[in-house]
């Protein structure tokens, strides 16, 4: 058990500045997910914690030790790789025992720990097999088993589920969460899948181009994204964006666009006032849109045309266009609309998001 501290962490390759001034405090027993598109520096950050990548500048502390110059074996970490990286010439048992053998554990202790881990992961019957005789899901379990037998201070996961098929991925995701609850070991988990990030992480770190964009609990990222990138990255389907002009009329602020005109709720008006007469980006989550009824204020509704209807059973996704702006609305499964027909939509004004056009920071 240990906390992990990253201070002004940087990684430069010859041409590329892969990780830029990353500062993170991962608390003891916490499950932190690094998420972002490929090339955002999340894996590099993880590999620096593992000691597989040299640190260009900055400092990493695991527990109370600065580990910058320690080789991986002395950092007391265990890592699960995307492609499993099982030792092909060894049995499952030997794969899991390897780390303990290297650390000169007594044979009986090794056996006990491997058995224990095998039971947790439900792979007791596979211990005599070689990796090539296992399915993808089983291999991933062995890879996790190899990590947990060591009882390390920190688990590092590098996209461990991305090689599995969709169904298995969901199943393993739940198992990993259960495993973390049971083992209570600090974990750093890298993924490009925002659903994995949201479901697994106690806290989520969103990265882009080597910079940390935002750190926060999943729902915090969802409801209060720090910038347009985080807003668009977290949530599925992604947030709708539209360029709007901010204008003052009838004693309030309005967000205007050729297709719609929406009144800014009073609570948001104060922060938007400096942008009066300027353009900003408006963000609306698909789930904050619904088909307008008499109960909705007229100033929070707008007309649109339906382009595609995607019935998912529990909900319907409407791909609509309002004044040239394409949007997705997530509506009740009972809604009956036809393609190419107009539909009037209403939005949850309290949950609108505004972003500076240039800096893209949330307003």
């Amino acid at each position: 058990m240990a906390q992990v501290l990253m201070k002004d962490l940087n990684k430069k390759y010859d041409e590329v500045h892969a990780v830029k001034d990353v500062n993170l405090h991962i608390r003891d027993k916490e499950f932190v997910v690094l998420v972002g598109p490929s090339g955002c520096g999340k894996s590099t950050t993880l590999r620096m914690v593992a000691g597989l990548e040299e640190i260009t500048s900055g400092e990493i502390t695991i527990g109370d030790r600065v580990v910058n110059d320690l080789p991986p074996k002395d950092r007391d970490i265990a890592m699960v790789f995307q492609n499993y990286a099982l030792y092909p010439h060894m049995t499952v048992y030997d794969n899991m025992a390897f780390g303990l053998k290297m650390r000169k554990f007594p044979k009986a202790e090794i056996q006990k720990r491997v058995q224990e881990a095998a039971e947790i992961l439900g792979i007791q019957d596979l211990l005599r097999r070689k990796p090539r005789q296992l399915s993808g899901g089983q291999r991933q379990r062995v890879a996790v088993g190899r990590a947990i037998v060591r009882h390390p201070q920190v688990f590092l996961f590098d996209e461990p589920l991305s090689n599995l098929d969709a169904k298995l991925r969901v199943q393993m995701r739940v198992e990993l969460k259960r495993l973390h609850d049971r083992l209570e070991t600090t974990a750093i988990y890298v993924t490009h899948d925002q659903v994995e990030a949201m479901t697994l992480g106690d806290r989520v770190v969103v990265m882009k181009d080597g910079w940390v964009q935002q750190v926060g609990e999943p729902l915090e990222l969802y409801s209060r994204p720090a910038n347009k990138f985080v807003a668009g990255f977290i949530g599925s389907p992604a947030m709708n964006f539209a360029d709007v002009a901010i204008a003052e009329a009838d004693g309030g602020l309005w967000a205007e666009n050729p297709g719609f005109r929406i009144k800014v709720p009073a609570a948001r008006a104060e922060r938007l006032r400096p942008y009066k007469g300027q353009r900003v980006t408006l963000g609306i989550r698909p789930e904050d849109l619904h088909v307008a009824s008499g109960a909705d204020l007229k100033e929070h509704t707008f007309d649109s045309t339906v382009e595609v209807v995607e019935p998912l059973g529990s909900e319907i996704l409407l791909d609509i266009r309002a004044g040239g702006v394409p949007m997705v609305a997530r509506v009740d499964p009972t809604v009956r609309v036809k393609v190419h027909e107009p539909v009037r939509l209403a939005l949850e004004a309290e949950r609108l998001h505004f972003f500076d056009l240039k800096s893209e920071a949330a307003i």
Binding site: P71, Q82, Y84, A85, P88, R132, N163
Partner: protein
């Protein structure tokens, strides 16, 4: 499968076998002729009426008898073994370490050095043996079989290293990283994880090293003049070609026996070579 497709498939198979058959004949003809000649009597070998491709006047083991009793063939054979074993071992140790360092340790200039190593291999033996003669002389190793044990690795290591660099590149890096995280140091990882996975590549390099050392002709010819130090290749030839008299029967018998160790080695190692040992390690 429709009849048309089946017919096409049958035709394709036949074509394959025809081509393979041609290759088999092409490659097996020389050893066949060699074997045949070694069992013919001198009379038949030299007879102008004889047909070269079959034995007409009875087979004989006389050439083999003479080889063992009238020449130092067994001594040459032993010398070849004594030279080749340490050469293969030393070359492989050096090549493996060099290839591992060049392909995995990622130090500055590794790529350039890797290419340079290969370029060294392109320098022909026939250019090297004169300066090497001088060096061997200075070291006091002229006319000893140990001169070969010293020189052969210089021929083998560059190519074997280059070959292994290529093979090592195909081993997923996560495998060594997993071992390093698991607590192994570089040497433990190399011996316990990396080399077992690299066996097919190691076998290819070993076969190459063995072949170079076993079949080398120029260097023993140049460096060794006494019969008791001579190795198989040069020894057989020098003792069975007297002036312009070629003892074809004996030469062919000697050549055939000299072929046996490499053939046995190939047969023995091929099974390992072909079975893909990395299967199951990673997703791909």
């Amino acid at each position: 499968m429709g009849p048309a497709r089946r017919r096409r498939r049958t035709f394709g198979l036949l074509a394959c076998y025809a081509v393979i058959g041609l290759f088999v004949i092409f490659f097996l003809f020389p050893p066949y002729w060699m074997a045949l000649t070694s069992f013919k009597t001198n009379q038949e070998i030299e007879s102008l009426e004889g047909i070269p491709f079959i034995i007409q006047k009875g087979a004989t083991l006389k050439h083999y008898q003479d080889l063992f009793t009238k020449t130092d063939f067994l001594l040459y054979f032993w010398n070849s073994v004594v030279v080749t074993v340490p050469v293969v071992v030393a070359s492989m140790v050096i090549s493996v370490l060099a290839a591992y360092a060049l392909s995995r340790l990622g130090f500055a200039g590794a790529g350039v050095i890797g290419t340079a190593v290969f370029l060294v291999y392109l320098v022909p033996d026939s250019l090297l043996f004169i300066p090497l003669f001088k060096i061997i002389g200075t070291l006091g190793l002229l006319n000893t079989k140990w001169s070969l044990a010293l020189v052969y690795p210089t021929l083998i290591v560059p190519f074997a290293t280059w070959l292994l660099i290529g093979y090592f590149a195909s081993i997923p890096r996560e495998l060594d990283e997993a071992a390093l995280v698991d607590g192994a140091n570089h040497l433990q990882m190399l011996v316990q994880i990396f080399l077992p996975v690299a066996v097919p590549g190691l076998i290819a390099a070993t076969i190459f090293a063995f072949t170079v050392s076993w079949s080398g002709f120029l260097y023993p010819m140049a460096f060794i003049f006494s019969s008791d130090q001579q190795v198989l290749t040069a020894g057989t030839v020098t003792s069975l070609i007297k002036g312009d008299v070629y003892h074809w029967g004996g030469l062919m018998a000697g050549a055939l026996l000299a072929c046996l160790p490499p053939v046995l080695l190939y047969v023995f190692l091929m099974d390992y070579y072909i079975s893909g040992l990395t299967a199951g390690s990673t997703k791909a």
